[in-house]
Amino acid sequence: MKTSERIIEILLFLSAATAVMVVALIIIFLLKEGIPVLAKVGVANFCLGMNWNPIAIAGEPSYGIFPMIVASFYVAIGSLIIAVPLGITCAVFLAEIAPSWARSILKHAIELLVGIPSVILGFIGLVLLVPFIRDHFGGWGFSILTGSIILAIMALPRIISISDDAIRSVPREYKEASLALGATHWHTIRKVILPSARSGIVAAVILAMATSIGETMAVVMVTGSPSILPDPIYDILDPVRPMTSNIVLEMSYATGDHASALFATGIVLFVVVAVLNIISHKALKSKMGTRR
């Protein structure tokens, strides 16, 4: 092989390796910046500690992010409770019921919705939803509920399009067999099509959860900022501070251990999202496995 060909192949390989190198650098730098605080307070105390008081005027600062981890999950799960039923029904509608004109409108709408920057959704939440919740449900308006609704709007298109794909990949014969047995279309959808598409839909839901937990801008503008658990714990009208908000709200003035604690928050966030992504991939893979 000519040397020029060889050089080109090496250059291409280096381009391909860039992504791996960036991931490695991300992990290295997060650890480098976050480990000082993790070492000082301990991983368990950091993750399970109830107190976040990084700039203690008197006494020791404390770095506990448990309320924020809870808040991240709270808001994300809340968004799924809203978006999953709506998303799956939309997907069923798209794949099974919709006449082609409705399908094309919905498809375009989904693409548009995906395209709306999250900061704009956060802004809309801030100016429309926060006052609405405050006036009609009570509380501050900045709340778990508000965050969940905004995140649900973001998660919806993703859930719809992946579920739509999952439903469409259900073999035609299953559906025809059911219809041929005299089942109604709806009965067929509920008893045959949805169960067959289940693992694909589960993967979509977990992926949506990972995205919701990692989402920043839409959340920080509408959930408020107190770094404590809601009281009582089931009060969805209480404001909370998810992990992403913690980073955004304090990064601009944090120094020393405080900044390190924010990087440590980033590490926890990274791990949570990575675990969810892996579970989602596994769910998709196992679907492929049974299909063959």
């Binding site: 192949e9 381009s15 960036v22 991931v23 709506l86 029904t89 939309c90 704009i120 100016v127 955004v248």
Partner: protein, 282 residues
């Protein structure tokens, strides 16, 4: 099955329910877009687009933010496109099946799954501090590159894989080398769909805020070099809204941002249609 409702009725009811939920989704979308546009249009004047902000953005325009966003996109694209296409060529055309390739694909997937705020933190620690780029267009643009790189790799790889194998064979059979085949036959055939994909990637990145807030800075001055800090439009919108500086200005900025996203997406669709017509015949 003993049910009070006949199968036919429940079938009908279910379908009505499906229509209703699809309509809810559409109406929500229309409401959001409509509300922003109605609120933002009065603000949209030529001076809003062409003037610098005054009083932290409470008055004046958003020109530096538009320029800033443009510069960030430029840096992100100039770095992500060659690397991303190079990576895709390696994965689609060169990579032997094996551990190394699997690690690379896994790395691309991993990078795609990392939350943007984490990439922002990394960009701050690595680009701004460690490499000493400071809060600048370079730092912000490269951080954005980390974010869109997986997307560019994925769309390019798919586009390359969609090129019929017969073209490669034809070229090899004429005595072309691998790189000649890739660069003269395969890549040109894939360029239209790669372009579409990359433009869609820009549409995703243009509204991205968390990545640039700790990397590009928040200066409202017009940048004079790629090492100057800028405040991109979405970040400007965030500051306007969250610090309560000016809601009308925030609406105006939202409309501009939305129009940018829309134009970008339409451009991608137009390119796809244009080339689609010429290539289907094959």
């Amino acid at each position: 099955m003993t049910s009070l409702i006949s199968p036919a009725t429940s079938d009908k009811a279910a379908k009505v329910m499906l229509w209703v939920s699809a309509s809810i989704a559409i109406l929500t979308l229309l409401f959001i877009l409509g509300y922003i546009v109605v609120q933002g249009l009065p603000v949209l004047t030529l001076s809003f687009l062409l003037e610098s902000p005054r009083l932290s953005g409470a008055e004046g325009g958003i020109l530096p933010a538009i320029v800033g966003t443009f510069c960030l996109m430029l840096v992100a694209l100039l770095s992500a496109v060659p690397i991303g296409i190079g990576a895709a060529i390696y994965l689609a055309e060169y990579a032997p099946v094996g551990v190394v390739t699997r690690i690379i694909s896994f790395g691309v997937e991993c990078l795609a799954g990392i939350p943007s705020i984490v990439i922002g933190l990394f960009g701050y620690a690595f680009l701004v501090i460690y490499l000493g780029f400071g809060f600048s267009i370079i730092s912000g643009g490269l951080a954005l590159m980390f974010m869109i790189l997986p997307w560019v790799v994925r769309v390019s790889e798919e586009s390359l894989k969609a090129v019929p194998g017969g073209l490669r064979e034809g070229s090899f059979a004429l005595g072309a080398t691998k790189w000649q085949t890739v660069s003269r036959v395969v890549l040109p055939s894939a360029v239209p769909s790669i372009t579409t994909g990359v433009i869609l990637g820009v549409g995703k990145a243009i509204g991205e805020t968390a990545v640039i807030m700790f990397t590009a800075g928040s200066s409202l001055l017009m940048p004079t070099s790629f090492f100057d800090p800028v405040r991109a439009l979405p970040y400007h919108l965030y500051i306007l809204a969250s610090e309560g500086i000016s809601d009308p200005m925030a609406y105006g900025s939202s409309v501009v941002l939305l129009v940018m996203v829309l134009v970008i997406n339409l451009a991608a669709v137009a390119i796809q249609r244009h080339y689609g017509r010429h290539h289907v015949r094959n």
